[in-house]
Subunit: 326 residues, 2 copies
């Protein structure tokens, strides 16, 4: 474990335990099979970054009520719902080092359990009786679906621009992380300026999170990552390192890349050559630079709050988001 991860783990140990317990308590399925199917993915070692950001944001705004534990499950349930549907949509085979749910229970059950988790999340949101919170949660859900649909439509499109990519990742990943921070502040009854600050912090973290995820597909290995490396490209998912490299490679390399991407059945050697190209054109470096810029902005926001264990944790999460290895 890296030093950063170790320090962060110590800081959030108790919160993570609370989150695990709350996820277990609030699933409340009428049908036991839902617990089994949903639980397979929910309790498979997710990092809980999203519910954690929700808790920390509320705490930073002075919120001390126990309800935050239950509330934070909204964020993880929404996240799990989209993962379940994503895996069906992408026909994935492993996730977090385990076979995906639909390979065990079939796509039908998996689709319906995903629906249940979406509904469960919105039901818990409704319990707050806070219209603003409910609206934010509903908007996040709507945005995530649209982001996924945009991504699906653009699959295999080698003309995908950086702007379109940013639009997709903000919708499919960014809004949920942003909303986790924002709803924490709303729940705490924070003034609008504070709510906006945390929302903006979440916005930056969301973008870093997805860029880091996309980078890992070209810089990690299958065992550490818990899913097949190169999977994005095999599915025709063009991410920032590829988009940048396509744009900055010379004509010959670009033509070769287009062939490899369109073909999809690339060999390991071809994939290695692609990664080399990403390094040579500066694609990997560029992605890190974009992410680091967002980390910097996220940290500046947190520095406007009085220093505390919570601000320290939020600063550390900003760094960890890019520098994780899975």
């Amino acid at each position: 474990m890296s030093g950063l991860k170790q320090k962060l783990t110590l800081l959030v140990e108790n919160d993570l335990q609370d989150i695990e317990a709350a996820l277990n308590q609030n699933l409340n399925p009428h049908v036991e099979m839902v617990r089994e199917t949903a639980g397979h993915l929910i309790f498979s070692g997710g990092k809980r970054i999203r519910p954690l950001l929700n808790m920390l944001s509320a705490r930073l705004c002075g919120y001390t009520d126990e309800f935050i534990k239950k509330f934070s499950t909204i964020i993880e349930f929404l996240h799990t719902a989209t993962l379940l549907h994503d895996d069906v949509v992408d026909n994935a085979s492993i996730r977090r080092g385990k076979p995906v749910a639909h390979s065990i229970w079939g796509a039908p059950v998996t689709v319906l359990v995903g629906d249940f988790l979406l509904a469960r999340a919105l039901h818990i949101a409704a319990e707050t009786e806070n219209p603003k919170i409910i609206k934010v949660i509903a908007e996040i859900t709507e945005s995530m679906c649209q982001g996924e649909i945009m991504q699906l439509i653009k699959k295999g499109d080698i003309r995908l621009t950086e702007k379109e990519y940013m639009d997709v990742i903000q919708r499919k990943t960014g809004y949920l992380i942003q909303g986790a921070c924002q709803t924490g502040a709303i729940l705490a009854g924070a003034p609008i300026e504070v709510e906006n600050k945390l929302s903006e912090y979440g916005y930056h973290i969301g973008i870093v999170f997805q860029i880091a995820d996309d980078l890992l597909d070209y810089t990690s290995n299958t065992k550490v990552l818990g899913k097949a490396i190169g999977a994005d490209l095999k599915e025709g998912k063009l991410t920032l390192p590829v988009i940048y490299t396509l744009e900055h490679a010379n004509a010959e390399d670009r033509a070769w890349m287009e062939k490899v991407i369109t073909d999809k059945n690339f060999t390991e050697t071809e994939f290695e050559k692609l990664i080399q190209l990403m390094h040579d054109t500066g694609g990997i470096r560029y992605c890190r630079k974009v992410a680091e810029n967002h980390i910097r902005q996220a940290k500046i926001i947190i520095q406007t709050f009085p220093s505390s264990k919570t601000t320290e944790t939020l600063m550390m999460i900003a760094d960890y988001t890019l520098n994780r290895n899975a």
Copy 2:
């Protein structure tokens, strides 16, 4: 067109036009493909019974605001979302006489567009800023998913009891229709007794609706029904006429039925023999009797309201629910 349908159509003509316009206005997709995919099913001649019940319930409670048009789309969007996912789950091929969405756009897009419609519905509900309404809508959504999951788990189980069947249909169909009536009353600010009465009316209509639907699979024909007749049984979906007949057939017929149901690849002759058995054991008659009992109770509730065009329409809908041919 039957006399009942003709009369009913005249009574609700304007409302149906308003519903069509509202569905079109409130889909609001960020991605145009969502409109195309969702619209394929939404605008394929649904009967709009659910949003209509919502409108009529609100009106019966004195609600006159235009917002009901937008609000009623929640109910139809939720309904459409479950149909889209159902068709993927059941691997259906036609619905309302048209090829199902996933046969045109593929299962991935269809799953995601279904998600979008769920989210869109909950987003519109959130706009009311009425915590009670939002809770009811969230609970309906949760129940529907669970009903679908229960149905899926019980597929092909020849020991399914009438009680289990009733539990499934109430969750997957009943709650939405009940909720359509109940939220109409809540939106109108009706007293709790009135809200409960309309909720109960919706409960009865919901059960009649599903029993009628299940009967049609054995009493209609493919052209009128807009989907393959006998499809329920082919999918292993045991409905009330089958459950009753299994229970009341003699040992020999029962054994034959079990074989046909388990086998699924029954011939047209076998299917006809099955329908004959349903008539002989009184299965069809029993289902109609159960439904008629619920219709009677639904009408008794409406008769407690001062007579008006709206009560007349709600009475007629109760009859139409069972006596429709598609």
